[in-house]
Amino acid sequence: MTPTYILIILLLLSTAGYYLGRRRALAVVEGTGGPKVLHSRPVYYGALTALWCAVPTLFIFSFWLVCESTVITDMVLSKLPETIQSLPADRLNLVMNDIKNLVNGNIVSGEENADLQAAADYYQYLRSLSQGALFVLISVICIGAVSILQNRIRPELRARNHVERVIYYILIACSVLAIFTTIGIVLSVLYESIRFFKIIPVQDFLFGLKWSPQTAIRADQVGSSGAFGAIPVFIGTLLVSAIAMIVAVPVGLMSAIYLSEYANRKFRAYAKPLLEILAGIPTVVYGFFAALVVAPVIRDSGALMGLDISSESAMAAGLVMGVMIIPFVSSLSDDVINAVPQALRDGALSLGSTQSETIRHIVLPAALPGIVGGVLLAVSRAIGETMIVVMAAGLSANLTLNPLKTVTTVTVQIVTLLVGDQEFDSPKTLAAFALGLLLFVVTLILNVIALYVVRKYREQYE
C-alpha cells in the first residue's frame, strides 16, 4: 500500500462521492418537481460531496507523509542497541542512512550486521503499519463524508455557494503558494549570502574590481587567497546582454512591424511560426553554434583587419544570444501592435499620413507599453542566459568593455562555482549565493524601473 496507491484510491473515492452526491440530489427531488426545485444544479451537490472527501483527506495525506519519516526514524533509533545510540550525531545519521538503504535494497556503506538488519526490518514493519493506518483513515473519512452529506442533501442546501467558496480558497492557496516559493528562495539565498558576507566584507564584494574565486582549501595547497569583487562579472553580464539587445531589439521590432503592418495574411501565417521556432531551439544548441561557428568567424574576420580577437569573445556570445531573443521581442511586439485599434490607423490615414508615418507617429507610441514589456522580458532572458555564455564567452573575469575580449558573466560564475564536489562553507561556494542575490536585486530594480516607465506613459495617454 504505497502512497501512490493511496492517492489513487483517494481520487477514486472522491469520484464515487461526486456521483453519489449528484444521484442523491436527484433522488431527493424525485417526484416533487425535479431538478428545478434544487437550489443548485445537481453537479454542485456532486462536487460538494467530492470536495468533502478530497480536501480533508488530502490535507491528512500530505501531513502524514511529511511526518511519517521523522516519526518512524525516531522510533527505529530508540530500538537500536546502546552502543549505536551513543554515537555522535553525524555517525548516527550515517547508521540511519544505512538502515534506509537496507530497506530500499541499496548498497550500504559499512558491513551488514544483525543489528542493522533487525532495525531495517522494524523500519519496514513500521512503514507498512503507517501506510495501512493512513489507508484506513482516509477511507473512513471519505465514507463518513459521503454518508453525512447523503443525509444533508436537500433542495434548500446551497451547494453552489459552498463549492464556489471552496474554489475561492483553493485559488487563494495557489497564489499564496507562488508567493511563498519566491520568498523561500529569496530567504535561502539571503541566508547563504549573509554567511558569505561574514567572510568577505560587503563593500569588497560590491565594489571590488578583481574576481578570482580560487582559494586554497588546505594549508599545503598552492593557490591564491581569492578575490571576490563582483564588478568585472557584472560588467561582463551587462556587456553581453547589451550586445544581445542591440541585435534583438531592432531586428525583433522591425520584423514585428513588417509582420503586423505590411505583410499579407498568407506570408504572416507562415513567417510568424517560423520565427517562433527560434525560441524553441535549446540554448545549448545556440551555445555550440556560438562557440564553433560564430566565434571563429569573428576571430578570423578580425585577423583580416589586423585585430587580435580571442576565440572566445563577448561579441560571439552576445550576437548569438541576440538571435536567440529575437522571437521574444518580435512575437510580443507583434501582439501589442496588432492590439492597437484599427480606428487609430484609419484616423491617421484619413488625415493623409503615409503608412510609415502612421506606424511611427501613431501605432508605435500607442503600443509602447507593451513593447517595453516585451523588451524587458528579453533583457531578463539575456541576463539569466547561461549556456551560450559558458560556451562562447569564456571564464576569465576581465574588467573590460571591449566586446572582442573574453569576459564572464554572473550566471557562468555561479555555474563554475557550484559544479563538481564543493565544500559548503568556503567563500568560493558561498560567493555563488551572493552573486545570485545581487543578480536578483539587479533584475528586480530593472523591472521596477520599467514598470514605472510604462505606468507613467499610460497615465499620459490613456
Binding site: G347, L351, G352, T354, H361
Partner: protein, 297 residues
C-alpha cells in the same frame, strides 16, 4: 432645387414622368423589385462624381456595392441612409480610398474629385486623403495631447512652419469645431480624456485642420448622446458653407435635419436619391417608402 440633369436610366426617367411627385398612392410607387436608381443622381455643380461603382470584398467573392452612380455637390450635405449591411459605409470609404487598407477589397468604376479620377494609377493616395477628410463612427483621437491631435495633420503636410503658426491653426480649428472654449485651458492633456462628444468634435477639428475639400462622416453621432449629437449637427450645418459633406447615418431624423439630399441604399444598390424633403415626404420607390415608414431596417 436642382435643375434637370442628364438621364441615368431611361426607364426610371419614364417612370418619374409618369408619376407626378406629390400625393402619390402606394400603388403608384416603383415596384420593390426594381433595383435601378430612382431619382436624380447627378447634379451639375458637383464636387465628387461616382459613376458605375462596384465594390468587391474577399478577393471578388462578395459584392458589396452594385453599380452605384452618385454625385456630391459643392457645399451640400448629402446623407446616406439604409438598413445595416446595405453598403453605405463601404461606399463612403471608397470616396477617400480607405478601402485600400482592406485586404481583398476591389473597387471598380470611376470616382472623380473635381476633374481627377481618384482611382487613377497616377494618383498618390496620401495627398488625396488630405483633400478628402473622414470622421469615423467611434471617436478615435490619437493617444496624444489635444494640441498634438490637431497639430499632427498640418505638421506632416508641412502646412505650418513654426510654433506660432501651429498655435494659430490649432486655435482656429478648435474654434470652428466649437471645442475651443471647452479645452483651451487643457490643450496639453490627452485627447482620450475628453467626453465622447468632445472627442468626436476633436476628430472633426483634426480633419478640418488639414483643410480638406470634402468631409466624409461615417455615423459620426452613433456613439453620442442627444445633446452631443445636436452640437455636432449644428457644426455640420456650419461646415457646409465651406466643405462638401457626405454623412452616413442610421438616424432618419438626423438625415432630415442636416442634409439637403438623401441617398437610400439597400443591399448594395442605390435605390433612391433625391432632395431630402422628397425622400422623407413622398418617396418614389416602394423600398424607400417601407424603410422611412419603419416597415423594415
Amino acid at each position: 432645387m436642382y435643375q434637370a440633369s442628364e438621364t441615368i436610366n431611361h426607364k426610371v426617367e419614364t417612370k418619374m414622368t409618369e408619376n407626378p411627385l406629390p400625393g402619390k398612392r402606394k400603388s403608384q410607387l416603383v415596384d420593390r423589385n426594381v433595383r435601378e436608381t430612382v431619382g436624380q443622381a447627378k447634379v451639375p455643380n458637383f464636387r465628387m462624381r461616382c459613376e458605375n461603382v462596384n465594390v468587391y470584398y474577399q478577393f471578388g467573392e462578395k459584392k458589396a456595392i452594385n453599380n452605384v452612380t452618385l454625385d456630391i455637390g459643392k457645399n451640400e450635405v448629402i446623407a446616406m441612409i439604409g438598413p445595416s449591411g446595405c453598403g453605405k459605409s463601404t461606399f463612403i470609404r471608397c470616396l477617400n480610398r480607405m478601402n485600400d487598407t482592406i485586404e481583398g477589397c476591389r473597387v471598380e468604376g470611376t470616382i472623380l474629385l473635381d476633374d481627377t479620377d481618384i482611382y487613377d494609377k497616377k494618383i498618390d493616395v496620401v495627398p488625396l486623403r488630405a483633400r478628402i477628410g473622414m470622421v469615423f463612427q467611434k471617436p478615435n483621437p490619437f493617444p496624444k495631447s489635444i494640441y498634438d491631435n490637431i497639430a499632427y495633420g498640418p505638421k506632416i503636410h508641412g502646412l505650418v512652419q513654426n510654433r506660432q503658426e501651429t498655435d494659430e491653426l490649432v486655435e482656429q480649428s478648435l474654434k470652428r469645431a466649437g471645442l475651443w472654449n471647452e479645452v483651451k485651458d487643457r490643450l496639453t492633456q490627452p485627447g482620450t480624456g475628453l467626453s465622447g462628444g468632445q472627442q468626436q468634435r476633436l476628430c472633426i477639428a483634426r480633419t478640418i485642420a488639414v483643410n480638406p475639400e470634402v468631409i466624409l462622416m461615417d455615423e459620426p453621432c452613433s456613439a453620442l448622446d442627444p445633446i452631443a449629437t445636436a452640437v455636432i449637427e449644428d457644426l455640420i450645418d456650419e461646415l457646409k458653407k465651406e466643405y462638401s459633406i457626405a454623412i452616413v447615418t442610421h438616424s432618419m431624423q438626423q438625415a432630415s435635419r442636416v442634409s439637403q439630399r438623401t441617398a437610400f441604399f439597400h443591399m448594395g444598390d442605390l435605390i433612391e436619391i433625391g432632395p431630402t424633403d422628397q425622400i422623407f415626404l413622398s418617396p418614389l420607390h416602394q423600398l424607400t417608402n417601407d424603410y422611412i415608414t419603419g416597415r423594415f431596417g
